[in-house]
């Protein structure tokens, strides 16, 4: 069952230096219970697309177009009151830096309880009990004491657990997690990923995981979307993408990451370099945005924007040479 359907989503910021196309004609679907990773480097539009879907951008300064449907309901035309009811209730949100997402002068227990009371009718006492139950479920030791503490009294990992508790208290069908472990140390990251996996099983939530870390993607995702310069350049099942990447950018990304254990296999030669840098989104490009950095670029790449082509039933690529690459 399709939970979220995004079609031809574009987000254009109006800046003093002209229009900035942060998200360009993005389409994808998320099914019930599925984990979809959106991968890209800074400026790829991965976070802006999530913010656009949840209507969290300042819309006096940007233009959204296309279609976003949550269980058939159009979100782009919904008013703010309707969106507020959806956020936190049907869709939970987790951000990278919990310190800026939490209120510094309210105890964490009350913040979680407040989230519960916004969406369900219950007494304060019931909400407080529910908050403590959630803190227990996300693995916070001594939850009764911790509920009375303020965000600054908690460590980074604990604050991220609080964010997750708050995002999940209404059992959302969709969880959007934007770089949820990027600011954390690896041993804490391992704990949080474990927690997200077990909560996914308990709650059956679908997850949109936005990240640049291909290791996290491989551990969590069912399906992967690779974004570059505001566009989706490749999409497939996680296994497909890691085993048979088609787009030169995806191949480059996978080759650029050193793998743990590489020295034992004698593979500490040069890493794959993708020359140059991510293009400036203010400069409108003709043709494929990756062409200036692509070793296989031909004239056609600089002249026309490649459309998405299906190379297998579960794999789409936006590259003029996608089909030839399959043969090769």
């Amino acid at each position: 069952m399709v939970l979220l359907n995004v079609e031809h989503l574009s987000t254009i910021f109006q800046t003093s230096r002209g229009d900035l196309r942060a998200v360009n004609d993005l389409s994808f679907r998320v099914s019930k219970g599925e984990t979809v990773a959106i991968v890209g480097e800074s400026g790829s539009g991965k976070s802006v697309s999530a913010m656009s879907i949840m209507r969290l951008l300042d819309e006096s300064r940007c233009r959204l177009s296309g279609k976003v449907e949550l269980k058939g309901r159009d979100l782009l035309s919904a008013d703010e009151a309707a969106m507020r009811a959806i956020r936190g209730n049907q869709v939970g949100l987790i951000f990278q830096e919990p310190m800026t997402a939490l209120n510094p002068v309210v105890t964490v227990g009350r913040q979680i309880a407040e989230a519960a009371r916004l969406h369900e009718t219950m007494t304060r006492r019931q909400a407080a009990e529910k908050a403590i139950e959630m803190l227990t479920r996300v693995g916070i030791p001594d939850p009764r004491r911790r509920a009375n503490e303020y965000p600054h009294q908690l460590s980074g990992g604990m604050r991220q657990r609080v964010m997750i508790a708050m995002a999940l208290i209404c059992r959302p069908e969709l969880l959007i997690a934007d770089e949820p472990t990027t600011a954390l140390d690896v041993t804490v990251q391992a704990q949080i990923l474990d927690l997200m996996r077990s909560l996914r099983e308990q709650f059956g939530s679908a997850i949109i995981l936005i990240t640049h870390d291909l290791g996290v993607v491989a551990e969590m995702a069912d399906r992967v979307i690779i974004m570059y310069a505001g566009r989706k350049v490749e999409e497939g099942t996680a296994e497909e993408i890691f085993a048979r990447p088609r787009h030169p950018y995806t191949k480059g990304l996978l080759g650029a990451v050193p793998r743990l254990g590489s020295s034992l296999e004698g593979k500490t030669g040069r890493l794959v370099e993708i020359e140059g840098t991510v293009p400036d989104p203010r400069v409108a490009t003709v043709g494929c945005a990756f062409a200036p950095r692509c070793r296989g670029a031909a004239d056609i790449c600089r002249l026309s924007q490649p459309g998405l082509v299906r190379t297998r039933s579960d794999h789409q690529v936006a590259c003029h040479f996608a089909t030839e690459l399959v043969v090769a």
């Binding site: 041993t187 290791g215 793998r259």
Partner: protein, 326 residues
């Protein structure tokens, strides 16, 4: 081989005031750390935030004063030199920081940024002589020579990091301290800078002290690794032993926590409980014992010392391995 950098029993304690009545307490940021870096070698210091790895780098640079210990650069004692005298030593010892946005002066041209150390250390007689050296340095870091006239803010993060590296190379140092030097960069750009460090080391015979939390990157470019936990080195040794057969339970957990970019990879993950305790009141005995799955009575009482194992100079501080030491 000769040692470029030797550090003996380095300590850095900070005094902090805690609580309402301002009782003072000591943060044991670095607590009795010793290591050496040989000429042309890369030693990486790894660990999680708060383990003291950056403080080690900063004390060597004398950006913070060590509480105790001895630091030698090319055999010369660094930590007792009056701060004015550090100027001469800094020629040999350079640094590249994490954030290429805040570590370059936005008002200076790239030429002036890279030329500054050359002028400071009197490494050129005339302007044109310095310009030539700057041009050479830009070649070394693979930046176009016409970058000289431009301001640093015109460049992307990766290019700025190249400018920072050119500046660090300018006085022809023996060792560069890289403090999370590639951590802030995008994946595709990070690979470029990692390759550049490897090339430069081969070309120039530089020693690198590579401070990082990214173990996959470290494995890729290092010769030896020191693992820190709560201000102490708990394991140090060759890359091969460290990544194939880590001895300390913390190193084992740290390595197994790293997500592998392969959905089919089999994992035997050791997930640690809890988080790093406060360095204000570190646990008695072994500092890792509160999170160690294998801790036993003795760990709470006695602090394990770094001891040599029989394999190629590998050292580990853990009671579990004492039987195997010489």
């Amino acid at each position: 081989m000769s040692s470029v950098l030797e550090v003996f029993n380095l300590k850095k304690y900070y005094l902090v005031r805690t609580g309402l009545f301002g009782r003072s307490a000591q943060v044991h940021a670095v607590d009795d750390v010793s290591f050496r870096v040989e000429a042309g070698e890369t030693l990486s210091i790894v660990g999680e935030s708060g383990c003291g790895k950056s403080t080690v780098g900063r004390t060597i640079l004398r950006l913070v004063e060590p509480t105790a210990g001895e630091i030698y650069l090319d055999g010369w004692r660094v930590d007792t030199v009056p701060i004015q005298g550090m100027r001469r030593l800094r020629k040999k010892l350079q640094v590249v920081y994490q954030d290429p946005f805040s570590s370059l002066n936005p008002r200076l041209s790239v030429r002036d940024i890279v030329a500054e150390p050359l002028e400071n250390f009197g490494m050129g007689q005339s302007r044109s002589e310095i310009d030539d050296q700057v041009a050479d340095l830009l070649d070394k870091v693979r930046l176009p020579r016409d970058a000289m006239k431009r301001l640093s803010h015109e460049f992307s993060g990766g290019q700025r990091q190249r400018i920072g590296i050119a500046r660090a190379l300018a006085p022809k140092p023996d060792i560069i301290i890289c403090d999370e030097a590639v951590s802030a960069l995008d994946v595709s750009v990070k690979a470029q800078i990692v390759n550049l460090f490897t090339d430069l080391q081969q070309e120039l015979g530089l020693a690198l002290l590579f401070i990082s939390h990214d173990l996959a990157i470290v494995e890729h470019l290092t010769h030896r690794v020191a693992v820190m936990y709560l201000g102490q080195i708990i394991e140090i040794g060759d890359r091969r032993t460290m990544f194939s057969a880590p001895k300390h339970p913390y190193t084992q957990a740290l390595l197994s926590s790293i997500p592998i970019a392969d959905p089919k990879a089999k994992r035997n993950r050791l997930v640690l409980n809890g988080e790093v305790p406060s360095p204000i009141n570190p646990p008695s005995g072994c500092r890792f014992r509160t999170r160690c799955p294998q801790a036993f009575d003795r760990c709470a009482v006695e602090m394990p010392k770094l001891a040599q194992l029989r394999v190629d100079g590998h050292q580990v501080a853990c009671h579990l391995h004492e039987g195997q030491s010489d």
